[in-house]
Symmetry: C2
Subunit: 310 residues, 2 copies
Amino acid sequence: MELEFIRRLRERLPSRQGALLVGPGDDAAVLAWRNAGDCVVTTDMLTDGVDFRLEEADARRIGRKALAVNLSDLAAMAAVPVAVVVSLALPRTAGLALAWELYEGLLPLAEEFDTLVAGGDTNAWDGGLVINVTAIGRTTDRGPLLRSGARAGDAIVVTGDFGGSILGKHFDFTPRVREALYLRANYEVHAAMDVSDGLSLDLSRLCEESRCGAELDLAAIPIGPAAHEAAGRDPTAGTPLERALGDGEDFELLLAMPADEARRLATDTTLGVRVTIIGRFVALPGLVAIDADGVRRSLTPRGYEHRFGA
Amino acid sequence: MELEFIRRLRERLPSRQGALLVGPGDDAAVLAWRNAGDCVVTTDMLTDGVDFRLEEADARRIGRKALAVNLSDLAAMAAVPVAVVVSLALPRTAGLALAWELYEGLLPLAEEFDTLVAGGDTNAWDGGLVINVTAIGRTTDRGPLLRSGARAGDAIVVTGDFGGSILGKHFDFTPRVREALYLRANYEVHAAMDVSDGLSLDLSRLCEESRCGAELDLAAIPIGPAAHEAAGRDPTAGTPLERALGDGEDFELLLAMPADEARRLATDTTLGVRVTIIGRFVALPGLVAIDADGVRRSLTPRGYEHRFGA
């Protein structure tokens, strides 16, 4: 049965497969890699009830998201996407029909970002839906961007806006691959990550890896319309600003750039995506929030923390 | 919490990390890949109740198996293992203690095969245990071995013995990485795959990819002691020979080699693993079994087929 699935998948995949020397159907895939740079690898597993609710969501959006979160990680490294492999644990009752819906969401995004679907593993079991995507990219000749390169004095730069992603963006966001590659090629960037667990929490992580701290200008934070809408629906869960600082799954880029480079970027209209300077990295560890009146207070990082049992 | 896990994992990993330019903790891992050959990728997802039973099995054996099945796929391609990424969906009640046990089984095998643990994704959810490993390897200068290269007249060659893997080998088998690389370097090999779903079923798949058929000499099939033991315990489930032909998860190599090369290999004592010529590839599609008296009959491929719902 899985062979039949692979056969259908082979037919559905674009015929020009570029770097794919061996595709789905053999024991492994082979990607042409002569002079292709270093190899960047990331993997993300999405599970029913945590990253989506299969009962409520269109399976195509789930499949798309499983790829998009991985492309967002490649973007954070300033890597060019090359290929993905896709593993599915399908509820036995849903079976291959569900697998197709997931692929129908995933494949257009893969094509949009010239990402090969190199293979996968399709399983049925008695549990809920699990989808795992591993993405492979290549570094450009400027090398990867890491979390560890921010320096005191660098500007904190973000793409897009923040907060309220749960209302839809967490499914439908565009991974910032093109933006990251453009920035890497045309600007000096010291560090980068993608904001997946919350702006303030992820900023604190980038600071930790870079052994520095950060000052945030609260009035500069780009609060998304969804943050306002979410705060309006449930005022007890925080103000729009609090949601922009603490909601997960924005999948925007968080960058450390020399201040003059950040100012140059702020006037660059070719990017097509809003870019905002929201503060600066400083030598002293920890986060400080500065409000519109210049009042400073310590900021506790908030966001989505993975919760485990004993 | 996941950060704490990554910290512990970083401490546990070998300090010499060779090709690992960026390891666990950033948005993605980076593997040094200058002049490293083409990139071979495979992924396998194991689920509770299908590939193991968490209630009955030592979690270390599950973690080891999740890596071993991927290394077996790289072996089938004659690829050198480079790195793996590991995704876990952990039952909330078991949590990180279970994650550590899985890694305690996986890490020694990774070290044995010089395979870097480059990163992963560790999640808790309300479902059962799912473990996904994606393995990345590199081709040697002789290139990858595919399923599609068998030619009429080639000998059918296998490593090890077959059947009854469920009694223990499916957890504790040694992936045939060293053997595959030795064979690729020292012999002419036309095609290869690993036997994961059953010898006769996987042979039929290799034949299909190579557009040929195969004749099996039944008296030559290396029937493992476990096949005899399993058949003794449950005679209704098949004879030892039937189990050797149809049981899944042997994880041995199945090879197509020119007949004279196969004969040369049969006298090669450096390999350290039993190698057996079990028949020959022929032009006519389909499998034929030839018994000790020379009687020929058509053989229906049997093995583990992935079962799905609608």
